[in-house]
Symmetry: C2
């Protein structure tokens, strides 16, 4: 009855009850597409949950769960006593556990990888501490050079406990490290990253095709599987003049 805010919204959906995809997810996905495509304009106000559920032939909890999903992803704002409104889509996709390789592919660049080395070594104290191993335990040391459009952009150093490396050097040229780990059944769960900066050493300047004294972005990452076991320690340096990290945050 009220056209106070920009406008109300009446989407039209197809819901497949026989699909293995959960109903709430079907609804959430279609609403998300409608919002991102502008079909449901920013600022629009939705009808209330009960009405929407009725329109779609769903129960309120299911409809509610779909809306909650959108809220969690920052696409709508819900307020008790007020209603649900579409937000201007300023939020980039949530930060995911992807590799630089994926990042480059997603931004349409042409990434290549040069394998510098893949060697089984004895863990020193520092690496052992980060990976929850004992000094002297076997770890694979993986060194790679990542380039975008033929120009080097990052030197990537990874340490992996011996048992997680069942792939060979050739596979690392074509696939991201995380893809290979997942493929062998490792359930990645979380990661802690530290992002910093420092001046490039002479050898690094040369390797990354940067002037002497250029600033480098550094990222150290420890990745854990869902037992809480450390799977990988990454120590990476990026040519800061050509690479930066994008992070989106949701408040609440």
């Amino acid at each position: 009855m009220s056209a106070q805010s920009p406008e109300a919204v009446i989407p039209s959906f197809t819901i497949a009850r026989s699909s293995p995809v959960p109903l709430y997810f079907q609804v959430a996905t279609q609403l998300e597409q409608a919002i991102l495509s502008g079909q449901i304009p920013a600022g629009a106000r939705f009808a209330n949950e009960i009405q929407l559920a009725e329109d779609l032939g769903l129960s309120r909890p299911t409809m509610r769960r779909a809306m909650q999903h959108l809220s969690d992803n920052g696409l709508v704002v819900r307020r008790r006593g007020i209603g649900t409104r579409v937000v201007q889509p300023k939020v980039r996709r949530k930060l995911e556990l992807t590799s630089l390789y994926d990042d480059l592919v997603n931004t349409g660049q042409r990434p290549t990888t040069d394998l510098i080395g893949l060697d089984l070594i004895d863990a020193d104290d520092e690496v052992a501490a980060h990976l929850d191993l004992k000094a002297g335990d076997g770890v694979y040391l993986l060194k790679r050079l990542r380039s975008a459009n033929g120009r080097p952009i990052a030197k990537m150093t990874n340490y992996l406990p011996e048992r997680y490396v069942t792939f060979g050097a050739d596979e690392l040229a074509d696939h991201g490290l995380y893809e290979l780990l997942r493929r062998q059944g490792v359930q990645l769960h979380s990661a802690n990253q530290t992002i910093g900066a420092r001046p490039a050493a002479a050898a690094e300047s040369k390797l990354l095709d940067e002037p002497r004294g250029a600033a480098l972005l550094t990222m150290q990452r420890i990745t854990y599987d869902d037992h809480g076991t450390a799977v990988e320690l990454g120590v990476h340096v990026y040519a800061a003049s050509r690479y930066s990290f994008e992070v989106s945050l949701l408040t609440s």
Copy 2:
């Protein structure tokens, strides 16, 4: 009946049904504390949802919601057909929309702020574009120097549309910028950050007490309220030798 994994868990809780705090949240919070304190050991396996709900005198959906909350925060792993297990607590708290001021306080350091300037200026093209304004619109330019334990660590530059600044210079010395914004009713919703690095200019080296040519961490942040309106543009530089960003990610 089974002691296959490390062990099963029997927590004992106090649930206040009269409290305004939701039941699921009371349960989730107490479980979280028990896990983080080690009272429920890493690797422990929970009884199933129905059993837990019965033990606590709750319905299954409510109990389920509490467990889901823990799962979302990376404290437990749930798998259909298997059960719920406590993860090694390797995940730092989720990245939040806090300021460096809060970061320093939380790590027990003694932060101070020197206000360098707070001036109303005309937005140039770049600032206007970032804040969705027109060039020439009034924006406040806020410059501050942040120090930890008396030594400068970051130079912070913020641009805010005129209407969001109702506070004075004195309040900025004692409170974070976001705190002041929230206090005047601004509903912060999301932020996009770009983290990079570059060598320090001469004046910056001096200001931040760093050697010439030192690397600086840079962070640009645009913060939006829940209408999707840009509230603030921050352009900050940090002495990289003494500051880094910590980011935790959850896969899923």
